[in-house]
Amino acid sequence: MVKEEQEESSNRPDNTAFTQQRLPAWQPILSASIVIPMFLLIGAAFIGVGVALFITSRDIQLQELDYTGDDSEHPCFKCRTNTEKCTCSMTFSIPTLFKGPVFFYYGLTNYFQNQRKYGASKDDNQLYGDLDYFTNPSTDCDPYTRDSKNMPIVPCGALANSMFNDSFSLSHTVNGVQKIVPLDGKGIAWWTDYNIKYRNPTLNSVFFSGTKKPTNWPKPIYELDTTDVYNNGFINQDFLVWMRRAALPDFRKLYRRITHDDYADGLPAGNYTLTIAYNYPVHSFNGKKKVVLSNVSWMGGKNDFLGIAYIVVGSMCVVMSVVMLIVYARFKFAEDV
């Protein structure tokens, strides 16, 4: 027999575990002894994490200031429809120490940065500093590719054109005297955006000749921050922050950080004045503008949802495991008998 086996011709298929579909296999079975403890375990873990998250989140302080000025009582009401330069101030108080580092956000609502056309309306090559696209921007930017005189716009597109241009200053009233809280605008954009994705052409203004600034802009891109070469042009931090468009129509973007020595530990309790250079119109589309001050924990900003969700899911797992245990006892045990 053995001999015959060896002399077998080549037509016989190989006898391997794979070809004969006999591979050793692990067969997970959803048995009660695995599933129920597993559910309990998951439940416990989730509740634990959830509680931790919730507590962390509750410790985070958040100060929101709506300055749209829809309300006629509001100090910014006058600026709402004003086309001229307009400044308004709001005062608010912080009851306890606002632990640092404190982040300063501006927020917009009902603003569709995620609209497809809007989001696509930019030219990444141009923003990467490719001079070919300065003279000849991508048609993605339409209708902000060229101005009425057919001059190419740099940076082109609706996204850049609609850059947020309100500016803020924050002052702390110390003993009746307004003390400016220094705001730090460095490093608020993504590292990759600042260092890789956006590049300035080497010789700034020369190459911008023959191009036009975006129509809504008061000044060209290379004058965004004339004081700091590393914060000018395409790599201007505010520009970068704006260009990283939000996924949802209600969003906030980082404006500044409060890192100055005096405020390194946070904003002390007291009264503060927020002065707003009100430029950006949101009235037409029923948008709202706000300023948010917040600090963060290891898990980021204030986020009650996550903790609650974890606790809920965890509890559901536990409940489920109990239900399963009951069902199992009722049916399985009976059947065994």
Partner: protein
Amino acid sequence: MTVLTDIPEKWLPVVLPIKKKKKAGFGGGKSKKKRTEEERRVKANDREHNEKFQYANNCIVTSKYNILTFLPVNLFEQFQEVANTYFLFLLILQLIPQISSLSWFTTIVPLALVLSITAVKDATDDYFRHKSDNQVNNRQSQVLIRGSLQNEKWMNVKVGDIIKLENNQFVAADLLLLSSTEPHGLCYIETAELDGETNMKVRQSVSVTAELGDPNNLASFDGEVVCEPPNNKLDRFCGTLYWREKKYPLTNQNMLLRGCVLRNTEACYGLVIFAGPDTKLMQNSGRTKFKRTSIDRLMNTLVLWIFGFLVCMGVILAVGNAVWEREVGSLFQSYLPWDPPVDNFMFSAFLSFWSYIIILNTVVPISLYVSVEVIRLGHSYFINWDRQMFCSRCNTAAESRTTTLNEELGQVEYIFSDKTGTLTQNIMTFNKCSINGQTYGEVTDPLGKQPKRLDFTPFNPLANPDFCFYDEKLLESVKVGDLHTHEFFRLLSLCHTVMSEEKSEGELVYKAQSPDEGALVTAARNFGFVFRSRTPGTITTTEMGRTVTYSLLAILDFNNIRKRMSVIVRNPEGRICLYCKGADTVLLERLHPCNQELMSITSDHLNEYGADGLRTLALAYRELSEDEWEAWSESHRCADKATDCREDRLAAAYDKIEQDMKLLGATAIEDKLQEGVPETIALLSLANIKIWVLTGDKQETAVNIGYSCKMLTDDMTEVFIIGGHTVQSVRQELRSARERMMELSRGKTEGMEAWAEACFMGNGMKDGQEGDCTTGRGSKQLHCSSLPPSASGDMDSISGEFALIISGHSLAHALEADMEAEFVSTACACKAVICCRVTPLQKAQVVELIKKHKKAVTLAIGDGANDVSMIKSAHIGVGISGQEGIQAVLASDYSFAQFRFLQRLLLVHGRWSYLRMCRFLCYFFYKNFAFTMVHFWFGFFCGFSAQDVPDHRSLEYPKLYEPGQLNLLFNKKEFFICITQGIYTSVVLFFVPYAVLSDATQSNGVPLADYQTFAVTTATALVIVVSVQIALDTGFWTVFNHMFVWGSVGSYFTIMFALHSQTLFRIFPNQFRFIGSAQNTLLQPVVWLTIALATAVCVVPVLAFRFLKLDLKPQLSDTVRHTQLVRQKRRKPGGRSIGGAWRGTGSVSEGRLGARGGSRRSGYAFSHQEGFGELITSGKNMRLSSLALANFASKHSSSWIETLRRKKTNHTPPSTSGECSPAPSNVSGTCPALSNSSSVLGGSQETPIEEETDAAVVLSSSSHPAASEPAEPRAPAQVAPADSSTSAAARTDSPGGWARSLETVQEALFGRRGCASASNTQVPPCDATETPPH
């Protein structure tokens, strides 16, 4: 026979007017002729003349394309597929810039890939068709051109040529036989390729041409044949030969059809009448169609539905867009004015509709089609690799010749099987006999000692060494000189129409007209009564070593009505004796009354043999006095000379003398089945697969095989035979059959058991074939309701077992349009259907009929050219390989060497493929819905602007990994559940990140709600959820699963980081704008917490649901399993009627006791044909030389042998002919094993029963303790529930479990068989019959 009397009127040299083709030729579009041929006129040896008519030449084209037509035709075919057109449409959409939301190359690359892969596959297939065409077309044949024989390729043979055929050659075209080397222009052909019949047939040339003889005379032959146009009727030919001012009628008897093989004839000459596509063989071959599976069709439907769904979503979102643009967007124009062509919100909505169609097209991604193909390819390889489908005897492995049909193997409902060569080996063996009330051949040694094969050589030097017999008692009886035994074998050696050839002393070769006869004469030979030679008037035998010459006074030939044949011989002592063999039914009536007692004993034996599926024959003799003989001889001569009613008068004369005979005994011949056929059929019918046998053979043969395969059993409620010759009678027969069924089942339904059975029939079916997939099926049942009211609804509820046997001519009527519904309803209510005497085309028509009326998946299996059309038209065609002809294999989708492999192909591979495919599809749709619906939800937050959330590029990957998940099992019923689950997942995947991230910031204060972070988070969560899901779905974790699942998650991250890397961005800033997102995002703990949360929310309910469903409430999740349990409980008390169905396999003992009514199957050499007796007595088929030698025949001189040898030098040695054909030469050439164990019905009943019992024990121990007390007869019945319940159980637990348990079943049932077949390889066939050790 009809002579065309009106031909002279048509005698005009016309090129027939070009008409519209009224009926399409059966040869498909192959025929190049544009006009309808009304008659064909062919002039011999005159190519110029014949060319005028532009008859098709002998070149055959089965290929579809040539180099030029390939591209357009193939593309056209491919774009007929819904999916391809859909993607083309998408591609066009994407080229419009205002709409395009994805770049166009995301579609064109995969589309081009799919198209080119399919094209390459088609091209390869067609290449092989070209090759086989070439091979056939380039066969050599000898053509008589200008008086000399020249070798020509087949394809160059023209109509009107005269070609020479030699022995064992295939006939190249449809020929008119002109002359042959045999006397009287006779020649013998085997038509197995055409109709599956393997007995030899005689063809005779018209006498005037028979005299032509040699090539020189033939070269000057200039007759003209006028005949009917090409048609597909194999048994009809009508024509006239005009030669030398005379006309001669031509019939089918003068024709040699393409596909036949010339046998026992040195050479012959024929005139080509029909060539190539016009030949009857080609006219009978069905069209080649592109086969697609029902899953394909379902997939196409689903794609359409999904497309509808897509349009709905598109509309919803477009409406949303319109509203948004009006309410918000118009206000938002200071930041984003409408594009120049967009001037109002309606238009914007219109554009966004199309954009969404593009974005959401991922519900049906093109990769679905690629993946499906890859999975199928994998399955095909598994089929090819399966060792359990390897036949070691013929060294052939199973081959999956198409890769597109695998999952349909799991859905087969009807099997259409050929008989000869598929179910049977076409080998007849003398198996048992009953002599004078004593039965021989049944070795029932209670100690289970191995029966020894008898060695005849010491006793009889002339014995055929291949003959196997096991019962020593018979040999003893011969040796001691028992008179009855001697007379018995003397009869067998004298009463037949076999011709013998003796090449050298003792080397006898019998040329039997039917294999049955060959077997009988061979048996007599081995037991010492050797038939040596015959002349028209004598028969020479060697009886116990002594040469005896009988003078042959008369042969009372066989015919279908008489069902017997007799010879009247005078022995050397001058005693006249009539020997008769025939069907017991007719023979027992003609016995002398004093035989009463013996008759009843023999009758019992016949019953036993019949129950074992053997072909029985009763033998009797009568001594005649000289006066009796003289008197009868006179009346016979008188009848013979009569001009009117000769047949009847002859029959009456025969009848007169075949009276008052003495019974000698009975023989039992086994038409050897292929290995494991009854078991396979039993198992397949357990899976509720209906098996129909379609055979060209005679009704008796077919029915007999039906019994021996256990398709028909004695326990069947009723077997209906439809044999009407007119439309009316067939209709009447069908009606009454149906009424009878209703009547019987009504009576039965009253019993509880019947109800249980019906319950089983209902549920078992679904289980057996396709799990709980019933949605598609439910509607099918309704289909029958278009039938007459009496036949409709009730026909489905018929209980009881019925069988239907229908013959070819009745079938022709039954297949007519107005009767087919009736036929289908009747036939489908029967458990077994046997169609006999069917033509190849009818086979295909039957298959088409079932396809049309039942919407069921059909499988056709066959081995010969006559099965090709059926194989082509069935959903799945299976060819039996490893044998001579390969046409069937070439036309088939799967091929293997043994019928029994069918069970593995269907029940293992088919089922796996089907379930895996379904599970894959479900998962795929789930995944895509989860993926796509995220866009949908996002639509509500981005102003319905067709913005897509996740980076789709990074998600291309998960779509590609599923093909590797070969162990996925699921079914299509849950398609919608899957989609729902997919939508749920998408909701979770969108809203959890939405809720979390909208306010979240990074730990460095940067908000997380930017678009890219959101996208990466969602995408990662999606991949992880989907991977966890696949992990849950995988029940069978092999190395590959680990590799693919982990690998795919790993590669997702790898690819994502790569795509978000600086390097790629630097090269294409515009394409890879997600730079840095991955790093930035995935470093955030919040993101991971979000992903974990989303995963938990998605998976936990699924997990809980499955746990509850699978472990605790099997009756909810798996009704089948439940019904199996119920049925088992129900069966225990009663179960009479159910047991009957399966009893078949091992039930010899019970069958004997049980109702044994009138279904004894007796018959006389079934494949026998009338007319040979006359040939012999007239001496026509004997050579002149042998006639001349007749005088010396009494003592065979060496010179005579010399003559014989000289005559036979041209012949191929018998061994070759034995090998290359299953023809009668087999009977003498290689006598097959007389096996006890190789088939259940073969011999002793001990072995099979034990096998079955073992199987049942193994099974029940693995499944259900209730099944472990198998009553012997019901052993197979126990197998049934055990099988199904294990599979059901395993399906619920884990798919892999199913595989395991099925393997157990397989092993249990066939492991032994496997052993048996394995041992067959090592030892010569006769030793293979050793039963497995106990």
